[in-house]
Symmetry: C2
Subunit: 594 residues, 2 copies
Amino acid sequence: MPLYEAPLDDMRFTLQHLVGGGDLMACPGFDALDETLVDSILSESAKVCQESLSSVNYSGHQEHSKHIGDGQVRTPKGFKEAHDALAEGGWIGLPADPEHGGQGLPRTLSTAVSEMWQAANMSLALCPLLSQGVIDALEAVGSEEQKATYLPALIEGRWTGTMNLTEPQAGTDLASLRAQAVREGDRYRIKGQKIFITYGEHDMSDNIIHLVLARTPDAPEGIKGISLFIVPKFILDADGQPGERNDVTCISIEDKLGIVGSPTCVLQYGEKDGAVGYLIGEENKGLSYMFIMMNRARFEVGVQGLGISQMAYQHALAYARERMQGQPLGRSATTPIIGHPDVKRLLAEMKSQIEAMRALAYVAAAELDLSRLGADEATRAAAQTRLELLVPIVKAWSTELSVEITSHGVQVHGGTGFIEETGAAQYYRDARILPIYEGTTAIQANDIVFRKTLRDQGAAVRDLLGDMSNDIAGALSDQDAGQLAAFSASLAESQRALDAVLSYANEPARAAAVGVPYLKMLGYVCGAWFMLRAAKAAQAELASANPGHSVEFLTSKIKSAAFYMSHILPRARALATTVCTGAGDVLAIEDDWL
Amino acid sequence: MPLYEAPLDDMRFTLQHLVGGGDLMACPGFDALDETLVDSILSESAKVCQESLSSVNYSGHQEHSKHIGDGQVRTPKGFKEAHDALAEGGWIGLPADPEHGGQGLPRTLSTAVSEMWQAANMSLALCPLLSQGVIDALEAVGSEEQKATYLPALIEGRWTGTMNLTEPQAGTDLASLRAQAVREGDRYRIKGQKIFITYGEHDMSDNIIHLVLARTPDAPEGIKGISLFIVPKFILDADGQPGERNDVTCISIEDKLGIVGSPTCVLQYGEKDGAVGYLIGEENKGLSYMFIMMNRARFEVGVQGLGISQMAYQHALAYARERMQGQPLGRSATTPIIGHPDVKRLLAEMKSQIEAMRALAYVAAAELDLSRLGADEATRAAAQTRLELLVPIVKAWSTELSVEITSHGVQVHGGTGFIEETGAAQYYRDARILPIYEGTTAIQANDIVFRKTLRDQGAAVRDLLGDMSNDIAGALSDQDAGQLAAFSASLAESQRALDAVLSYANEPARAAAVGVPYLKMLGYVCGAWFMLRAAKAAQAELASANPGHSVEFLTSKIKSAAFYMSHILPRARALATTVCTGAGDVLAIEDDWL
């Protein structure tokens, strides 16, 4: 089983050129760092991911996390050690506030690190991903006492975090949550069942900090009556150490299609007197607090799509280089299958889309940094607007692509890919959750259609498309004419698709009916933009006296962009057609006609 | 777990209108039948598939076929009974020659029956699928004695068949086969290892008839030195009954991503003196004989894609009708999720593409019947040409779609879809083998590019596109103008893509680099053609005094076609762009740049 090797070249190239505009240290928040430190963070992360995480990825898939009775869950062999390695290296707190022990590094940089975690072992990496979400939420809305109580151990990775939203009757529809929280002095007693709780119980940390949505007895109905609570697995004693076991039990874990190394728990709160919980912020504002955590998680799930695609690509590429089979057309002897045109096409589809996804994720992370660190309010606000537009694209587009790319990984292997022990099937199975959890692709599409497009009458999207058009007329104007024409035509069609969505302002069902094609279209055009900019930057490096990357790498970036324009971008035009003409054809179908 | 319900309405509609031109009994070969018989065959098949096959589909997925030592394989509980039900009902021999006990029914009809098998239980149905392939091959190239010896028991389902091509070093590349066959009087001794042998060993029949590719000692190198042998698991005694155990052993079965109810065997031939085998036809002509079986299998694998997509659709639809969640836009109360526009869009994508795939499969089957039964040589030859063009599309396009459609089935279920016990994941896992076995999608693309397009300078493809154009100007000319314009534009672009492929006649690598996009493009335009013709037929039925189907069904066909034109057909245009512009961008990527 090949171990993960972080694509440090492309990560660095993407940071330098697509975020930093040619200068790595111009990435937002990098001014407090130096180049050597950035490089050593990336290479040290690559090392821990390969040695500790990647090495137990397939064995974890074989072994599964197991519910071993008495409410306990046993994670696969080596998972605790891998989690310890992340914790002890200070990796979990990389982007966290230094006040409570974090490294305070920019998200742009920590996103590259996250990509490595997710590529190396997605099942394992889900745990620190969720801890980081809890850290984010507490940093943003926890009281000073809550921060002091919980953040240090979470940041050190001694404790881990979870996110408890879903109940059996309430998945996407959080309005129908029923879990109850009854006030008892300065704390609450929580009762109810939560499902799909990732790492809701496990054996890798000393405590588990659950963030739980529940209703107080007098709360209004619907989403305006939901509050957010901290519910530790072990209630802290007077010294702030894990003490008495709280009244929350893992009653079972799910038998899943993928990510079987991670436990997905059914948690029962309040089988006895009710689990002790502590209110975060104010009552009835829980959903907005939870969205802090969820927005982080959505972005990170997009990064999972990127990471697992990269690993599937590496695995398929290694096989394609070693598997001897047939004489490809135009070659005289039996060669590795990479010489067959369609195998190369599949690999190029994987590679070019991964590069586009990486650029999108890192650029979005930089907008997040800029929204905090920007020099002035206008810069920060513009970055926040762009970030909010990009997050659902990162989440939905990258994860939908990851399903396709991991499927390509199986296909490159031929019949061997269908055999479990080859390992290609694991990525295909693992990736399938990504377009579902933390808000399905349809939920992301609703977000982008209603909150990010219709609410501002298309201003943010128009601005994004405008930046692309400006590049065609400006920075990119010396690029290949055919590629520019294709990109330009896609932008014009995207603009028409935007107009179509805007025209549905008073017909929300119509807008929702083409939301997913609209979101995916935007993903593909963003990808084209980044690929063209990358090609331009690669050309400039190649022409320079002292290029920062190898000629092979830089040439491959240029070829990858060309491939993207003729093989991937045409999908954007097809999707634009659907957005412009297809809404009515969905709604015309009565429920009973299906 | 919902049981399979055969979509008899759409099967009958498709036969009647897309094959029979409005008259069910005008389907080729139906003249010896009557309408009541056709209907009763379909409804009886639906019953046995639901009761015997579908009922053990998920339990078979849970249980797996198991290698229980001593070369034996135990199939899941109920599989033998299900196979017996098919055998005893005479279903396996439905299309076989009556001379040896078959029913001699047209393939057009038996394809609908096959679809039901594959939908109800793909793992189980693989066994009779392969038996039918062996029957086909023996009917075509077996000696009279071989036919008399093997066909009756195969047709009755007392024995089953297998296809032995692949060896560890020889997958797609059959030229590198190494299995040896040494002549010994009127028989041969076979030695070698074969892998990926579906139902190579099992407990559902009294004997297993292996068709095995091997080389004689003096055979030429490459594919011109391969011969085909009959190797029974039990050598027949003087009475033609299974006697002595032959020297072929199942040494292991694979742990697979899907179709785990079916055993995929590693067979060792000749651990002792060599397995006794009987030459079929002449030495060194084995590959062309095996292609008889393989062509059938390729078509049937396409039908598997259709069947499993239908089952995934039914399952998702049932869930979407019962799962209450949220208030869809424009609806006032919590409703089943089918009311959410994107859930409906996903279901409509599944439904419309399944209908298109069904039409393609049945039309191709009718060409096969016509190639045998056509009134004159010209008709038979034209049907054969069309059949050979359509088979790789049926195989590759339908199976690629089945991966996407079964993925949609998971998505409709949301988080629940990722849980194994929901059942949606099984279809997603099972379907993944379909674009791989019996020739990967790339192999089908090579077939259509080199043998079906370049060899006749595009005549067959031009003829197919011409039939579509003629329909736009003729039979379909009264249809929706927007739909016709979209279809017409796709045809023009397909024509340009054909010209591009023809222009690569002397650059085979270039042609191969866009073979898969070219094949898929043809699949999507064929689908559009059938959908428009179906809509036209549905309109005619609706307007008639005595329509043969319900108003709901007929209306749904019309809506499904409209949906296909705005949501699915645009992909054909995107693919045509790739065919026309993307070949060079694949080949420009050096092996080392990936």
